[in-house]
């Protein structure tokens, strides 16, 4: 029997490694603006957030749209989110601050955005370590509890993003459009998990499918 190519699965891997490759090539060929370290920090941070959002969208979309295969992409997308977050942190500590940890501490220890980012990263680290089957079996019920942390991580990352931009979150003035768009998507995905919303939309989809079947009998 000919083995079928799993296109969605391939797309996730190509998307992640391709993104990383483009970043690396642009950095090494010095085409990442005149301020490459800051730009790379921003790009890796954004990539982490995008992969986390994609991972977060798998469960609600698979239920609402009725595509069970989507659910299977959740894990890889989340692990890639962690990978970009780890690269983001390494660039911050290594490239930006030359691993001078005392200087990092002096500069950012009293800054809220750093602590939000750090909290998000530590939670992601915990999820990444326990992503393997053995850990899942060992943790039993607690595994699911732990992995609910994804609901907190994405909002933390969005807040971390908002806090580094020049603007005013109370009046929405300034350069906040981008983090607010990401924030709205995260909010929407979290709302889609509430059972009344999720069930309502799922039922609606099922009804629509039945309706189209009766309207166009095969």
């Amino acid at each position: 029997m000919k083995k079928q190519i799993d296109w969605p699965r391939l797309a996730v891997h190509i998307g992640a490694w391709g993104t990383l490759l483009v970043m690396a090539v642009r950095f090494l060929t010095n085409t990442l603006t005149a301020n490459p370290i800051l730009t790379l920090e921003r790009h890796t941070g954004k990539a982490a957030l995008i992969f986390l959002i994609l991972s977060l969208s798998c469960s609600p979309l698979s239920a609402i749209l009725g595509i069970p295969a989507l659910r299977r992409r959740k894990k890889a997308l989340g692990v890639y989110g962690f990978m970009f977050a780890a690269i983001h942190l390494l660039i911050f500590l290594g490239l930006d601050y030359g691993f001078k940890l005392a200087l990092v501490w002096m500069d950012v220890s009293n800054k809220l955005y750093i602590w939000l980012g750090a909290a998000a990263f530590l939670l992601l680290l915990a999820l990444a370590i326990t992503t393997f089957k053995k850990m899942k079996q060992a943790l039993k019920k607690n595994w699911k509890r732990l992995h609910r942390a994804v609901y907190i991580i994405s909002p933390l990352v969005v807040l971390h993003f908002i806090l580094i931009e020049k603007g005013n979150i109370l009046t929405l003035q300034g350069n906040l459009k981008e983090p607010l768009i990401y924030g709205s998507v995260v909010l929407l995905l979290l709302l889609l998990r509430l059972s009344p919303i999720k069930n309502g939309l799922t039922n609606l989809r099922v009804k629509l499918q039945q309706h189209s079947r009766t309207a166009n009998p095969v």
């Binding site: 800051l38 730009t39 490239l95 580094i164 020049k166 300034g174």
Partner: protein
């Protein structure tokens, strides 16, 4: 204590006629040796003595130096970096995208209205200003509030010369600056997240300090649109956003004027905005910076290294309160 700008004493040998400079640069590029060190090695003492160039038109100087240093001995940032990494939200918030969007923005002719609490209000064209106010080269550090910095060889003249020409009245206490408002040519001005047009202000004594200049040129040439042409303010001891670009209005007023960033977030951007490593932006640190073209961080200097020239302006003021 010196309040006047003093450039680094330069060796005449370091001066190269402009046409020779460009042909050399092209040659060096072609040879693939654009790295800074190679550029220096190729361009130092053997340079010929300056001769008047006949092809030069307009007010830009006849000679430009093969390399520039500020008075602390820092080399100037590469022209390509200065011209392709711009925080200029009137075009786009992406610093890399400004140059392309500003490419066709007309910067000449350019007129500036100087008015308000003055005895002799008048409109100046940039070319008139260049004739009357004797532009000179000023190699300044520019420190962005985003913790990066550049060293930029501007061509400009002290703002004080313009203000003296219009004779401020005794009620004039502040100077208000306004950027041109042309949303059809500046797409960023269609973004309603900002209270356009851009505005900035200086206290009159700050404005009269010799370091505060109006710039009309960069690196021996005209001021490119993405760098704030037709004419911009440069206040080297304050964060970059204070150095308002594409200025069309200079108004003398009695009350402290509103500024765009302090209007958006008054608890984060004050009126003074002095470069100060001791006073953080409330959300991020200002103690160090990355000089564009360098990989390490450098400590940020008080008043961006211009303490001797400007500290007297803020004597007795609590700079944490007046940030």
């Amino acid at each position: 204590m010196s309040k006047k700008y003093e450039s680094l004493k330069i060796d005449r040998n370091e001066i190269t006629p402009k046409n020779l400079y460009f042909s050399r640069r092209q040659f060096i590029r072609a040879a693939g040796l654009a790295a800074g060190g190679a550029l220096l090695a190729a361009c130092t003492p053997s340079s010929s003595t300056p001769t008047a160039s006949t092809t030069q038109v307009g007010p830009t100087p006849t000679y430009i130096r093969t390399h520039y240093k500020d008075e602390l001995g820092n080399f100037s940032t590469k022209p390509d970096d200065i011209k392709n990494y711009n925080n200029y939200y009137e075009f786009t918030t992406n610093p890399q995208g400004v140059a392309a969007l500003a490419k066709d923005f007309p910067t000449s002719p350019w007129e500036v209205q100087v008015y308000g609490l003055v005895d002799e209000p008048r409109n100046f064209s940039v070319s008139e200003m260049e004739q009357h106010f004797k532009p000179e080269e000023r190699i300044y550090r520019l420190r962005c509030v985003e913790a990066w910095s550049m060293v930029i060889p501007w061509i400009g003249f002290p703002l004080s010369r313009v203000l003296e020409a219009v004779k401020p009245t005794s009620e004039a206490k502040y100077v208000r600056f306004e950027t041109i408002f042309k949303p059809d040519e500046m797409p960023g001005q269609k973004d309603s997240s900002y209270p356009w047009p851009y505005q900035e202000g200086l206290r009159l004594d700050e404005a009269m300090n010799d370091l505060a200049i109006l710039a009309t040129g960069l690196y021996g040439g005209d001021l490119p649109p993405q760098n704030g042409g037709g004419i911009r303010l440069v206040v080297p001891w304050t964060y970059g956003f204070k150095s308002i670009k594409a200025v069309v209005k200079i108004e003398l007023v009695s009350e402290q004027p509103a500024t765009l960033w302090s209007a958006i977030a008054p608890n984060e951007y004050g009126f003074y905005s002095n470069v100060n490593p001791e006073v953080d932006h409330p959300r991020w640190s200002q103690s160090s910076e990355r000089r564009i073209g360098e990989t390490h961080r450098r400590p940020t200097l008080m008043f961006n290294g211009y303490e001797d020239q400007v500290a007297y302006l803020y004597k007795g003021m609590d700079l944490r309160k007046y940030y």
